[in-house]
């Protein structure tokens, strides 16, 4: 059988194979688009906008988490499984801080909550960053020159430890996260509305992403990060403090994940200790979908997954959502082996 396979491969090789593969891909894509478009037309425009806004907001949260995965992977080639749990930690810490800042469900939900929310946000993000940098220092740095899978296993162990600590802290229950954002909807005319929550979530995620992009592209530390990601030894020879740069990467990744946790809490109003497991898996999928190591790619991947999930939940059977997300991932990697925006880089 294998002989036959090899022969087939020999016949259909090189450019022809790529062309056939791309053609098949395009046909599949066209069929899917037609089916989806037909469903959308049946349910009307207002519903479509509502679902789209929900998907983009959901995707923006995944994108925030995905950025941390992609940055860490870009710089030390490690799938940081604990990252999803840092995201959950953000939701848990902010939830615990709320009484101290006088925030509770049903209180004045206006501009007055902006300042305490900002305070909670900053403290939570710093604490998450501290945890992530500590994890890097204790569990990953000693293994930087060990076989790569050893570091992967410690990452899984660290994920289990974080989940376990949160489990010990708050138990196995779903925790209610106060619904502080207004439930009002903004009318865009013609029956089309968009929720204030959606706007807040998308805007705050967007601000964080723009800040990150500016930081990585403009600042000196950002330049050091890019250099370290490209060639660690050469960067070291140029006088870059590798340990500091890697720690800074973990710091920034955790800041974004912590912010993502808070936003998730405000948007979905329910968190539990094992939230980060699935969320992390999907966020990592988003990072790979966009091209791992690529910051705009992670954002794009997150948005795509959010939109696909919400469309499938709304128009098709929701129990298949995750199946489709991972099927799209496999399909994208088959047709574009380096992700949507990834570039072909030589193996290190």
């Amino acid at each position: 059988m294998l002989g036959a396979l090899t022969r087939t491969r020999a016949v259909v090789n090189g450019a022809t194979a790529t062309r056939i593969r791309n053609l098949v891909g395009l046909v599949i894509l066209a069929v899917i688009l037609v089916v989806v478009a037909q469903k959308i037309a049946v349910r009307g425009l207002p519903f479509f906008i509502q679902i789209l806004a929900f998907g983009v907001a959901d995707g923006a949260i995944f994108a925030l988490v995905a950025l941390g995965y992609t940055m860490v992977y870009g710089i030390i080639e490690l799938i940081n499984f604990a990252h999803g749990d840092v995201f959950t930690l953000g939701a848990f810490i902010s939830l615990a801080l709320m009484p101290a800042f006088g925030l509770a469900e049903g209180k004045s939900a206006g501009i007055a909550i902006l300042l305490p929310m900002l305070g909670i946000g900053v403290i939570t993000m710093l604490l998450c960053a501290g945890v992530n940098v500590t994890i890097e220092r204790v569990a990953y740095r000693p293994l930087r020159n060990a076989p790569r899978l050893a570091a992967l296993i410690t990452a899984i162990g660290m994920s289990s430890i974080l989940e376990g600590l949160m489990f010990m802290w708050r138990g196995p229950f779903f925790l209610h996260y106060p619904n502080l954002l207004p439930d009002a909807r903004i009318s865009l005319g013609g029956g089309v509305t968009i929720g204030v929550k959606d706007v807040v979530v998308i805007a705050s995620a967007l601000i964080l992403m723009v800040a990150l992009t500016l930081f990585v592209n403009r600042s000196k530390l950002g330049k050091a990060m890019r250099a370290t990601a490209q060639d660690r030894d050469a960067a070291q020879l140029m006088g870059i403090d590798i340990n500091l740069t890697i720690a800074a990467t973990f710091f920034i990744g955790a800041v974004l994940a912590g912010a993502g946790g808070i936003i998730y809490g405000f948007y979905f109003n329910s968190v539990d200790a094992f939230l980060g497991f699935t969320a992390g898996l999907i966020a990592f999928t988003a990072a790979v979908l966009g091209g791992i190591g690529n910051i705009p790619g992670a954002a794009l991947g997150g948005l795509m997954i959010g939109v696909v999930r919400s469309f499938n939940d709304a128009y098709f059977a929701s129990q298949w959502s995750e199946v489709y997300v991972f099927a799209i991932l496999i399909a994208v990697l088959v047709f574009r082996p380096t992700g949507l925006l990834g570039m072909r880089v030589p193996e290190k």
């Binding site: 410690t154 376990g164 199946v323």
Partner: protein, 402 residues
């Protein structure tokens, strides 16, 4: 006899040979010792050991993929699920409610191999378009596949039994010509060799035989031309291709053999538990098996087996028992303040340990990796590579300092 003593003498220094001998000895003495120490109530332990064998078998299979060929597989449980479901569908009344109209009951011994080939086929099907991906992209594809398969079975409805899975799977039975005069007679260890839920020893013996068979097969493969090709691909794919190794076929074979072993394990698992449910094949299973292989020593068969046994013991015996054990220890020391729940909110040491099980498991993984990144019983080649790299870097550092 002299040949045996010569064999022993030659392998006295070989850690792998010692590990094989120790494991074989352990496998033989375990059931009687378990029965003896618990006063005849050791069926529970033997059953647990037979379930543990499933993980050992999977570790052997994943070691081929990850350890030999160097392909990171994060969705290994998918093939386990495919094996288990294949057996479930082929050996139960499940298909009565399907268009086929009546249940299929293929004997275990045939279904075992059918499940193996189905799993291997799924492995080839997944591997064929994706094995040209490099490094971690392949890992993510397997991860995605591992997430898809259990959800697929969960959503498939009548064919796979949906959320409830398939129940009442056929138990294996020995063929008639083997049901000799001893069946029903009182043998020393076990009364009869029938595969019933009350007699885990039969499953245990079957598992040990499957393990021995797999070890022999995989070890032969490892020492063959194919095994050397795997190593070549693992170390440097471009160089291996330049030397005339057909890397795609080689990787596909590693993938398929790994999947086949997992399918093997899956059908045994289904037959023993008599139930397959989509909840049993999540990402956590893939990660556990991968941890077993890395923990034991990648690329070394006895290492992977040892890692599987150690981690299985920790996960399924040590951690579940720890709360009661700790509680009774502190009670016997007279420290009821620690052992019993207190009015000030302390829930008792047992309860506290039960709550901390995730933390303990994570700490064990992290500590073993930090203290022994090469694994408990690493392959000699790998160990040499590691020390070689360390010397190389030491020289580099020296040069940089001067």
């Amino acid at each position: 006899m002299s040949r045996l003593s010569q064999l022993v003498h030659e392998n006295r220094q070989n850690p792998n040979a010692i590990a094989y001998a120790a494991m074989l000895l352990f496998a033989i003495v375990f059931p009687p010792v378990a029965q003896f120490t618990t006063g005849g109530n050791g069926d529970f332990l033997v059953s647990l050991a037979a379930d543990g064998g499933v993980f050992v078998l999977m570790a052997i299979g994943l070691n081929v993929v990850v350890g030999f060929a160097g392909l990171l597989d994060l969705g290994y449980a998918a093939f386990f699920a495919i094996g288990a479901y294949t057996y479930g569908i082929l050996a139960s009344n499940q298909l009565i409610s399907s268009p086929l109209g009546h249940g299929v009951h293929i004997p275990f011994w045939i279904a075992l191999f059918v499940a193996m080939f189905v799993a291997a086929g799924a492995g080839a099907l997944l591997g064929f378009p994706t094995l040209r991906l490099r490094g971690d992209y392949l890992a993510i594809v397997t991860l995605g596949f591992g997430e898809i398969v259990p959800r697929f079975f969960r959503n498939l409805g009548t064919i796979s039994g949906g959320v409830n899975g398939i129940t009442a799977l056929d138990a294996p039975s020995l063929p008639g010509w083997l049901n000799g005069p001893w069946v029903g007679q009182a043998l020393a260890i076990t009364n009869d060799f029938k595969f019933t839920s009350g007699n885990p020893t039969a499953y245990y013996v079957l598992m040990v035989m499957l393990l021995i068979l797999s070890v022999i097969l995989v070890n032969n493969l490892y020492q063959s031309r194919l095994g050397r090709a795997w190593m070549a691909v693992r170390e440097d794919e471009v160089a291996a291709a330049a030397m005339g190794v057909n890397t795609t076929t080689i990787k596909l074979l590693a993938f398929g053999i790994g999947a086949a072993t997992s399918g093997f394990a899956g059908s045994f698992y289904g037959a023993k538990l008599s139930i397959v449910s989509p909840e049993n094949f999540g990402f956590i299973v893939s990660v556990t098996v991968l941890s077993m292989v890395v923990l034991g020593g990648m690329g070394n068969i006895p290492g992977a087996m040892l890692g599987a046994m150690v981690l299985y013991y920790i996960l399924f015996k040590f951690l579940p028992d720890a709360p009661a054990q700790a509680s009774s220890i502190f009670s016997s020391l007279g420290l009821d303040v620690i052992a019993k729940p207190q009015p000030n909110g302390w829930p008792g040491i047992g309860e506290e340990i039960a709550r901390a099980k995730f933390v303990i498991f994570g700490l064990i993984l992290v500590l073993i990796m930090l203290l022994r990144p090469q694994g408990l019983l690493p392959s000699r080649v790998r160990e040499q590579e590691l020390t070689h790299k360390a010397t190389e870097e030491a020289v580099f550092d020296l040069g940089a300092a001067s």
